[in-house]
């Protein structure tokens, strides 16, 4: 009896299972192609269409009211500075709180009940829709005029963005500190460092690059958000000229895109494309930068 002679061991492409396998492989390749397609389409439209409206005037001038001048709509200068200012306000609030919260989770309470609850809470907070954060800030800051009597303001916008950044920063700080080996902590405590010294001089520097990655990703997400701003910072066509202007309406790139995309005038639509060019270029650079930092850290995920 010789079993091997009955069936050939060479690959037979016409076998049903081989045809099925090839079909499925082709389908999965097709799916991968379809998934990449929107990115290519969106980016190329934004870069080509948006890039063609970019010039020095667009970058500097203040936008003009829709319908005033059909040929020119001014520029997006105030929106760029507004987005920058609100991102800075959001960072000032959320980075210390987020990093501090992450330090507590890893360094002080690794698996306590409270820490579990905070981890769960930050996951839930990350899932809260961004518009809810806008509604929340509207209810507690804008409608109550709690900020020295001002209603819509750049500061309120920044605060609502900080709510979106907070869970990302806490989570990445927590994960980054967890990757630092415990030996380093014991060594530091062993040579007589206090816990505060250990955290600030040993674990935080070791986890610095991973924390930076998380902060940059959170910042990139917040800078592109629109929903929390449309009823907190509203929109303004003017540059801010003094510190007091922080307490008044403030323009931002994302709200400018939203407002001007829905205008019936061609000039305003072009301005929206120009603004999305700037926004997309900045956000993609932030993303790529954060990936680069993440892959060069001492204790980054890719190395351990």
């Amino acid at each position: 009896m010789n079993y091997t002679s009955q069936k050939s061991l060479t690959y037979n492409p016409s076998l049903a299972r081989n045809i099925g396998n090839r079909t499925l492989t082709i389908i999965s390749a097709l799916f991968a192609f379809i998934s990449v397609l929107p990115l290519i389409l969106v980016i190329s439209y934004v870069l080509i269409k948006g890039g063609s409206y970019i010039n020095i005037e667009t970058l500097i001038l203040e936008p003009e009211p829709p319908g005033d001048d059909l040929l020119s709509a001014g520029g997006i200068g105030p929106a760029i500075t507004g987005t920058f200012i609100m991102a800075v306000i959001a960072s000032i609030i959320s980075i210390p709180v987020g990093v501090g919260g992450g330090i507590y989770l890893t360094e002080y309470s690794k698996s306590g009940k409270f820490a579990k609850f905070i981890r769960f809470g930050s996951n839930v907070l990350a899932g809260v829709p961004s518009i809810i954060s806008g509604v929340f800030i509207y209810a507690i800051i804008v409608s109550t005029k709690i900020l020295f009597g001002s209603m819509f303001s750049g500061i309120a916008g920044g605060i609502s963005l900080s709510i979106l950044m907070l869970p990302t920063i806490i989570k990445t700080t927590d994960e980054a500190l967890k990757l630092v080996p415990d030996d380093m902590r014991r060594a530091a405590l062993g040579v007589g460092a206090s816990k505060f010294t250990m955290i600030t001089n040993i674990t935080l520097p070791a986890a610095f690059s991973s924390i930076c990655t998380g902060v940059l990703l959170a910042l990139a997400r917040a800078a592109g958000e629109t929903a929390p701003l449309i009823f907190t910072a509203l929109f303004s066509r003017y540059y801010i000229t003094s510190f007091d202007d922080l307490f008044y309406e403030m323009g931002s790139l994302s709200v400018l895109i939203y407002n001007f995309a829905l205008e019936p005038y061609e000039a305003q639509n072009q301005l929206a494309w120009a603004a999305s060019f700037i926004l997309v270029v900045v956000l993609l650079s932030l993303n790529i930068l954060s990936r680069w930092i993440g892959s060069h850290g001492a204790f980054s995920k890719n190395k351990l």
């Binding site: 081989n18 839930v124 809260v128 070791a206 995309a261």
Partner: protein
């Protein structure tokens, strides 16, 4: 070995840094009170910062609930099933918006699951060289970096005019089915569904990819060893092993799709006229908030807050369920 050396180097450097911090070298000393105070103070500060998460979360719930009490007491659960939204007669119901939220998010999920999981399989299998797979993976993840308002802009000016003829063909062929029963005339639920697919695809793909990669290679080798083909292995071994992560990713994507605001607001048409058809303009809860909240007053505000509360509860349930599923199913292969 090289890694180890690097670690020891950085170790020594860090130890030196500790030395510099405590200026007195190698001497027995009592810890000064100031140092203890700093230690205790620091701990209290970080505890307070960690609590901020809980404070923010609870106050969001409390504020949204408090602001909507008027509507809750007036309409109760009737609010969920009433499709009237009339500021003139002061009668409000969120059925249209709830229907729009559920239909757009579930339909977009149905399209995005096969695409996302298929892509994840394609870039974790060794069908094509690794660097091309890495490029595809990074490209899909970069899609998540594009702000939703830019996707909305693109959808309004480029995608919607492009797909309208195709939607018209579907309408002419299948118009007798209630879901396709109105003529597509621009903004509507279908373009919103497609743009949601674009937005949740990166979430499903990257989370599925991560969980597929974590499946131990022993399982794959064992399956190949007993003669299973590539796709038999994928369907019978790899996917069942990674199902917890994939389900978690899908649920997170569902939560994101429900709460997504800007792109949907720009393309869904913002109409409160209820229609079963996915070609008709409609509302989602978040687009209704974005559209009306700025100009609302009186009982309309509290009705909008009630709708916001419903949206929060929906996304909360989905997110908690996602975390529970991941925890429940992920213990299998560790």
């Amino acid at each position: 070995m090289k890694n180890l050396k690097l670690d020891i180097d950085s170790y020594c450097k860090l130890l030196l840094r500790v030395d510099k911090a405590n200026t007195s070298k190698f001497s027995l000393r009592k810890r000064p009170t100031s140092e203890k105070l700093v230690d205790v103070g620091f701990k209290n500060i970080v505890v307070a910062m960690a609590s901020m998460v809980a404070v923010v979360l609870f106050s969001i719930f409390a504020v949204v609930y408090y602001e909507s009490t008027e509507s809750i007491s007036r309409y109760g659960l009737r609010f969920l099933f009433n499709s009237a939204w009339n500021p003139v007669t002061d009668e409000y119901g969120a059925f249209t918006a709830i229907y729009g939220t559920l239909i757009t998010s579930i339909a977009s999920l149905l399209i995005a699951i096969p695409l996302g999981v298929g892509t994840a399989i394609f870039i974790t299998e060794n069908i094509i060289p690794e660097y091309i797979r890495n490029v595809i993976g990074i490209m899909v993840e970069l899609l998540a970096a594009i702000p939703s308002v830019v996707l909305g802009l693109w959808a309004v000016f480029i995608m919607e005019p492009f797909i309208r003829p195709f939607l018209n063909i579907i309408y002419e062929l299948f118009g007798f089915i209630p879901f396709f029963s109105t003529q597509p005339l621009g903004a509507g639920m279908m373009p919103a569904i497609l743009i949601l697919v674009v937005m949740i695809l990166p979430i499903i793909t990257s989370i599925s990819k991560d969980s597929l990669k974590q499946v131990p290679s022993k399982l794959r080798q064992a399956a190949y060893g007993i003669g299973a083909s590539r796709w038999t292995t994928i369907f019978k071994v790899i996917i069942p092993a990674a199902i917890s992560g994939i389900t978690g990713g899908v649920l997170l994507a569902l939560g994101r799709a429900m709460g997504e605001t800007m792109a949907v607001t720009m393309i869904i048409g913002n109409s409160n006229n209820f229609s079963w058809s996915i070609f008709a303009p409609s509302y989602t809860i978040s687009s209704m908030l974005a559209n009306q909240f700025g100009e609302a007053d009186g009982s309309q505000v509290s009705s909008l807050m009630y709708a916001a509360l419903i949206l929060m509860i929906l996304t909360l349930l989905v997110n908690v369920f996602a975390q529970w599923i991941v925890k429940k199913l992920s213990l299998k292969y560790q």
